[in-house]
Symmetry: C2
Subunit: 290 residues, 2 copies
């Protein structure tokens, strides 16, 4: 069966697999992203992952490689990534296999997968909450990039103008409260999933950190709603696996923040953490011309 | 000469005139909006204004009437206006003259005038700051309305989550700090223009109120920039007449709030307070089919 090799390179975890033309994932695997070891080691780890996947055929015939990465990206270059310290890395550097390779932005690609295979909707914010937060802004049925391709940086809007310092250099950013990385770091936990578990056990500090994360998200979504009047918001990424622990209070707080208009529907992604790999698959299929 | 009668109904002032097919205004006149006297009196005042303008020909031949009003509007009905207490007022109620009448949203219409006759740009926020604040969101060369036509409510985004109560029922809205109405009310002045004048004279309370207004605008524009990456921001309405007293500190504070990306250009509207009448003119011309 024809397929593409697809890898979604996240801040802490790489997710990879084979994606068929209809979006079906035929193998799904995770590996740690060796971010702490520097720019070159992350590139080498991606290359090994792609090579290992390409060898692992089982009746699958890979036609191309799609790589979803963070930062500023063109189909042929990872132009800039603050997360990984990359500058102008060509697509060919990410793999030794003899297949066409296409790069794309991780959040945009996952948003395209949501658009193609998920809940759909013409005017939707797709908001993956992982190590960081960015948004795919879907307007009138298409991803919107803005004047210079930088749209969707919702993780860095100032929800608390005099609030916590953010790694980006600003203060009070949404991501400083509500990203998986921030939730874990504020508690001193190794992951946001641990904090969510401790919330359910009534741990006071976990409740406080989670509460501030949910309120920051409600503020950001209230702002997005007032400016762009979306038909819905689809929350994805690792933090969305909290399910109702996230969605129930988030919906309530969003409604409280909107006095004169109803809140849009807020749902968890139907694709879950696989949206990124499916998005990388779309990049790969685009590279083979379909 | 063929023209349309155009009236822009603002919160405190109505502006009206004749608009030629090329956007030229051939007569421009202001009247107070009798908002305090109730919904029916505002409608009657608009009707008188249109009748008086229609009689005042001087070689002009009016073909239609365009009315730009606040709230939720269709071409045939003022569906809802919190500002004026209107509900489902038909276009015909606004005039006795025997001409086609078209209604439109004041900020959207002014935004269309900016698009047609002003600075232009494919991805621009047009932000008129008058008695209240709303935005016309121009994306890829068109006004964007959102899933339900409610996009652009930037005046009510929560820039200070625990801040001042706003008339809309929310807290910390941009408009509670930076609208002309709020600037005047916070000082106890009769207009924002007075406060601007006193700022230049070094009045401490005026400086404080103005400073908080500019900071609130910078926060809102930083958020808009991060989410939508506009090519530029065009500030209009009465408060934009403050010119450099507004633009110089606003540009500086917007740049301070954006750590990892440049700020978009922030300009004052080239059309000034006439944008609303030119927008109402576009509505009128649309009613005659051109």
């Amino acid at each position: 069966m024809e397929c593409v090799v697809a890898v979604d390179v996240g801040g802490t975890t790489m997710k990879g697999g084979f994606v068929a033309r209809d979006g079906t994932i035929h193998h799904f695997e995770r590996r740690p992203t060796p971010r702490a070891e520097g720019p070159a080691r992350v590139i080498a780890a991606i290359s090994s992952f792609v090579s290992d996947l390409s060898r692992r055929r089982e009746g699958l015939r890979p036609l191309a490689v799609g790589l979803a990465v963070p930062g500023l990206v063109t189909p042929t270059h990872a132009v800039f990534s603050a997360a990984f310290g990359w500058r102008d890395v060509p697509a060919s550097a990410f793999t030794d296999v003899d297949l066409p390779v296409a790069l794309g932005h991780d959040v945009r690609s996952a948003g395209e997968a949501e658009l193609a295979y998920g809940f759909g909707g013409d005017d939707v914010l797709y908001l993956p909450i992982g190590t960081g937060i960015a948004g795919a802004v879907v307007l009138s049925g298409s991803l919107y990039g803005g004047a210079g391709g930088w749209a969707g940086q919702i993780g860095h809007i100032p929800v608390r103008p005099d609030g916590l310092a953010c790694g980006c250099g600003q203060r009070g950013c949404l991501a400083a409260y509500a990203s998986g990385g921030a939730i874990a770091a504020r508690y001193g936990a190794s992951s946001a999933a641990d904090v969510v578990r401790w919330v359910s056990e009534g741990d006071a500090r976990a409740v406080e950190v989670w509460d501030e994360a949910v309120e920051a998200l409600a503020l950001a979504l209230a702002t997005y709603t007032l400016v762009l009047d979306p038909g819905g918001v689809v929350v994805g990424g690792g933090v969305s696996l909290a399910g109702d622990s996230l969605l129930v209070p988030l919906r309530a707080r969003l409604s409280e923040r909107l006095a004169f208009r109803p809140a849009p529907e807020v749902r968890a992604s139907a694709l879950g953490v696989r949206a990124g790999v499916m998005g990388a698959g779309l990049l790969g299929w685009r590279a083979v011309g379909s």
